[in-house]
């Protein structure tokens, strides 16, 4: 389980984005957090990734603190998180380089994951030569090559065209079915939530609250009402 326990968070110690936030995410599932822009979705992902630290409360990922899992979390930011000065090959290899793995092992792992995701022809390109969909695939490859147990994806479908959309959705579903991993996705798009989620959550208000939506209630109308802050 990924447990967010009574977490308080604020960037300026005045306006609290989270106050006593409590939520649990289930392992080996795709959890989608749906909410309007600016509600705190990215902040929550950064807290789980260990980039930010709660002011109060704690986060436990399979019993461990986020900082203890550095190198084991595949965090894919909303903006292009690829390093523009590195070729795609070097970008994918980076988590393994940071673990000081053997260069021949790194090269083999990069080729394997590139084959799996069908991006072998992109390996010698620079990020600026890629489309939005290709960027997302490379970011996913980088998270996969690290052997992450937990993937945190910030609006993964927001900057890609329709052709890549299905491909990315299928890839994420394949990751869940073939590896022992957990995926948490945040999005402002109800369609994304409907298509991707095993478990659906809605984040709303300030300080934010998170509501887990029961499986039989996950439909467009119900989610829209929750999204708009209506009590249903």
């Amino acid at each position: 389980m990924i447990i967010v326990d009574n977490v308080d968070f604020s960037y300026d110690k005045k306006n609290y984005i989270f106050k006593d936030l409590k939520v649990a995410f289930y392992p080996y599932k795709i959890s989608v957090i749906l909410g309007p822009n600016g509600v705190g979705k990215t902040t929550l992902l950064k807290l789980i990734a260990g980039i930010l630290a709660p002011i109060r409360g704690e986060i436990r990922i399979f019993g461990k603190k986020p900082v203890e899992l550095r190198g084991k979390i595949g965090y894919i930011p909303q903006l292009n998180g690829l390093y523009p000065w590195m070729k795609v090959r070097e970008n994918i290899a980076l988590p393994l380089k940071l673990r000081r793995e053997d260069p021949s092992k790194i090269s083999e792992a990069v080729n394997t994951v590139a084959n799996k995701l069908g991006i072998k022809e992109l390996l010698d390109k620079y990020p600026k030569q890629l489309s939005g969909g290709e960027i997302q695939k490379v970011q996913l490859a980088r998270a996969l090559v690290a052997g992450s147990d937990l993937f945190l994806l910030d609006e993964p479908l927001s900057m890609i065209d329709i052709d890549y959309r299905e491909e990315i959705i299928n890839l994420l579903k394949e990751v869940i079915s073939t590896t022992k991993s957990t995926i948490i996705i945040v999005t402002h798009n109800i369609e994304d939530a409907l298509e991707l989620s095993d478990k659906t959550y809605v984040m709303r208000n300030r300080p934010a609250e998170i509501i887990e939506v029961k499986k039989d209630l996950v439909n467009r109308d119900y989610l829209q009402k929750l999204y708009r802050g209506l009590n249903v």
């Binding site: 990734a49 260990g50 980039i51 550095r70 190198g71 965090y75 000065w85 988590p95 620079y126 600026k128």
Partner: protein, 253 residues
């Protein structure tokens, strides 16, 4: 347009403009007929003479050494100042250093030369002056370039298991490299302009000194030939740095 065609077109335009400037110079000097504007051919003759008898080479090495020592110091200082301003997590440090840089930038630094003579010996005063003047374009260029990349790229290094050294190696240094190269290119041009002033006082060597000396003895042909030497040096440095930028920053171009 392919890169090679573009490069050839640029060379063609470059040659065309050099020829135009030379022709214009020659034409005006014939019309004006004054000792302070000798013709291009007379200056070129003097240039070759000074180049072959070693006067230019000897003084060029002296000036270039001063400039390179000064620029190395300003580059190191500029790099760390820029990095602190952009990457410091403590906003006080970042804002405080930024303000010091911005407030001291508009000071006419050349005017500090007489004061520098009190603090340093003659040789180092010149080097420090060039260092101070080139510090600003280098630092500002590093700040400008490094700020273009999202901070998330730095945060990701830690999420992927990296440490502070990795952050420097994989993010801070490569993200500031365009700024370093642009800054060095601008600084070299500034340094060539400043070297004339710096070497006009209290020294008896360097290309700046030569220009000043020939001017004082009213040897205008030699004076123009020394200016020509400094211009060729400036142009060569500029072209070499543009080439280096294209080589090192393939990801950008």
């Amino acid at each position: 347009m392919s890169n090679s065609i573009k490069a050839n077109t640029n060379i063609l335009y470059g040659l065309l403009s050099v020829i135009s400037i030379i022709l214009l110079w020659q034409f005006i000097s014939i019309i004006v007929k004054k000792s302070y504007l000798p013709s291009f051919t007379e200056v070129a003759e003097k240039f070759l003479e000074n180049l072959l008898n070693g006067v230019f080479i000897e003084n060029l090495i002296i000036s270039l050494t001063r400039i390179i020592v000064a620029m190395l110091i300003s580059l190191i200082l500029g790099f760390f100042t820029g990095v602190l301003i952009v990457w410091s997590r403590v906003s006080f440090t970042s804002n405080f250093i930024k303000m010091i840089v911005f407030i001291t930038y508009p000071i006419p630094h050349v005017a500090l030369l007489p004061i520098l003579f009190y603090f340093f010996d003659i040789e180092w005063s010149k080097i420090i002056l060039i260092m101070i003047i080139t510090f600003y374009p280098t630092t500002l260029s590093i700040i400008e370039w490094s700020s273009r990349f999202p901070r998330e790229l730095g945060e990701l290094i830690f999420v992927m298991g990296g440490n502070k050294l990795d952050l420097f190696k994989y993010v801070i240094f490569p993200s500031s490299l365009p700024g370093i190269l642009t800054g060095v290119r601008i600084s070299f041009n500034t340094a060539y302009a400043v070297i004339f002033i710096a070497e006009s006082l209290a020294v008896s060597n360097g290309l700046g000194y030569l220009i000043h000396y020939y001017w004082q003895i009213l040897d205008f042909k030699s004076m123009y030939s020394a200016i020509m030497m400094l211009s060729i040096l400036g142009l060569s440095t500029y072209l070499a740095l543009v080439y280096l930028e294209r080589k090192l920053l393939k990801w950008l171009y």
